[in-house]
């Protein structure tokens, strides 16, 4: 091994350690039999038990699930359409609208939507406003994934379908949709993850009503840190990890088929 490689490896190892050690600590402390996040006392599952007896937390989890499912459903449909449209047609305005919410600081979208909901729609902030807000920024992510999939595909398939007399709808339903399906599902899972994790935009559009998971976690962190936070963190990590692995599997499956 060359000397420069050893430097690279150690620098990279440090970066990986930096990325993972904090999360490992959270997971380990979620099993620690002590109220303080300081020294290891002994193994316990009591923080998980406490979590499942925490009524407000359960309601928050349920609300967040409802929001994530609804927002990812809407964002997947609209995002897939946007991805298709941007790929197929030379559009100037739509890409700008789709990708800007992804690129700008979240707080700006949160503030803008807060003002809009309160002033224009006279909408009481709550689940509906959060679902709309999450859909707005998830559309861009779905569109990016779907568009990337389309860019990797051979255009002649669609031309062949058209030449054989397929209508645009038939081409879409029989050719395009099955081919981009893995990207659509990956986009849906990504939206779900983004929605259930989102703090900033939720914070601005939540109103005062129902408890929402990230807001509950924020309150716990800010006011009284108990190892219950570690337990909910570990469970959330498991959930989103599963989503990401499924999404990655779907995506690479498509890659492999194309490579053949």
């Amino acid at each position: 091994m060359r000397r420069s490689n050893i430097w690279l490896w150690s620098a990279a190892a440090l970066a990986y350690a930096f990325l993972y050690i904090p999360l490992i600590i959270v997971v380990v402390y979620s099993f620690n039999d002590s109220k303080l996040n300081a020294e290891w006392v002994g193994f316990t599952l009591s923080w998980y038990v406490a979590l499942f007896n925490n009524q407000e937390m359960l309601i928050a989890a349920r609300n967040s699930l409802i929001i994530a499912v609804s927002a990812s459903f809407l964002a997947t449909i609209l995002g897939t359409m946007a991805g298709l449209a941007i790929h197929r047609y030379k559009l100037k305005f739509l890409p700008l609208l789709v990708f800007t919410p992804v690129a700008m600081p979240e707080i700006l979208l949160g503030v803008a939507l807060l003002l809009f909901f309160l002033q224009v729609l006279n909408l009481t902030l709550g689940m509906i406003s959060i679902i709309i807000a999450h859909t707005t920024f998830c559309i861009g992510f779905v569109a990016i994934i779907v568009r990337a999939r389309l860019q990797g595909m051979d255009e002649s398939i669609f031309e062949a379908a058209r030449d054989l007399g397929a209508s645009p709808w038939q081409t879409f339903r029989l050719i395009t949709l099955p081919l981009i399906m893995p990207a659509v599902v990956a986009g849906a899972l990504m939206s779900f993850t983004l929605s259930i994790d989102d703090f900033v935009i939720t914070f601005f559009t939540k109103g005062v009503g129902e408890p929402i998971l990230p807001i509950q976690i924020y309150t716990m962190i800010k006011i009284a840190v108990t190892p219950e936070v570690n337990a909910i963190s570990t469970l959330l990590m498991l959930l989103t990890l599963t989503m990401i692995i499924i999404a990655a599997k779907l995506d690479s499956g498509v890659l492999r088929r194309e490579a053949k």
Partner: protein, 303 residues
């Protein structure tokens, strides 16, 4: 092939692009315009906004619109300071991310093909955890009773330096910012470095360039577009971030994001909050334009 503009195709175009366009016009463009409009309004007596009164009974001039909040923003040095501080934090976070991400991205790009995807996945995977949890993890690590704090203070003590509090400090804010945004730097760098032709380095070596020269004269200049897109992806979100200073910072570590948050959820001064948001938007636009200009594919230098 039947080209383009049949009626069915035009209908299809509108059917596909119409719904997302409409949704984003209503829930993105309109809210942004409302924000701009709000920045010109007068604050209400009890928070929120003063009503737009009919000209006859108007207290604040004919249309109830004003540039007062903008004047206020530029008249108080405090806000300029907070903006400058936010830029400094964003620049420092970007630089640290770059220094940490570059070797990692380079290593991944130069690894065997079959390992690359796994190594990239390992960079992205921490994102599988909740954003707040990633910040919270550093509360544990930097907390006064943590192993890390004890170690640092023992080290400082050995040199006769008084113990320091790591949590609720600018240092903690910086660590949190870097931690949350590091993958945004690694990915564009890797995407760029992966495309480099190894033959270039061989050629440089044959021409007598040592390892450092090969990096500095070949790899680094070629990677600049990746560096600038990564820098934009870190700099912009850090600039608007309020959660990291909110959780890891002390009372003095307020950035633009915290200021904006306070206007809406604390003092409820909507017009001023909107003005701050507009200023942040302008800053973001300027940085995006700069990054796009720098990140354009480099022309081959002429000799």
């Amino acid at each position: 092939m039947i080209k383009g503009n049949t009626k069915a195709n035009r209908t299809a175009k509108w059917l596909v692009s119409g719904p997302p366009l409409l949704f984003l016009l209503v829930f993105f463009v309109a809210p942004s315009l409302i924000m701009l409009f709000t920045s010109l309004r007068f604050p209400g007596e009890f928070g929120g906004l003063a009503p737009i009164a009919a000209p006859a009974e108007a207290v604040h001039g004919e249309y109830g619109l004003t540039l007062e909040t903008y004047q206020f923003f530029f008249s108080d040095i405090l806000y300029a300071e907070i903006f400058l501080k936010s830029f400094a934090v964003a620049a420092a976070s970007t630089l640290i991310c770059l220094i940490m991400a570059y070797p990692l991205a380079l290593l991944i790009a130069r690894s065997e093909k079959r390992f690359r995807n796994l190594m990239v996945l390992l960079v992205v995977l921490p994102f599988a955890s909740n954003f707040l949890i990633r910040i919270y993890a550093w509360m544990i690590i930097l907390g006064p009773e943590s192993v890390f704090s004890h170690f640092i203070n023992a080290l400082l003590g050995a040199f006769g330096i008084a113990p320091v509090t790591l949590l609720f400090s600018p240092f903690a804010v910086l660590v949190g910012m870097v931690y949350v945004h590091l993958p945004f730097m690694v990915l564009p760098l890797y995407t760029n470095l992966e495309k480099h032709d190894p033959a270039l380095l061989d050629a440089a070596q044959d021409l007598g360039a040592n390892a450092w020269q090969r990096f500095w004269r070949v790899t680094w200049p070629l990677s600049l577009p990746g560096v600038f897109s990564g820098a934009a992806l870190v700099f912009i979100p850090v600039l608007g971030m309020f959660a990291v200073p909110d959780i890891l910072g002390g009372t003095g570590d307020i950035l633009i994001g915290n200021l904006i948050k306070d206007q809406f959820l604390g003092t409820r001064d909507w017009p001023f909050g909107s003005t701050l948001s507009i200023m942040l938007t302008l800053a973001v636009l300027a940085i995006t334009a700069l990054a796009a200009w720098f990140a354009r594919p480099a022309a081959i230098p002429e000799r």
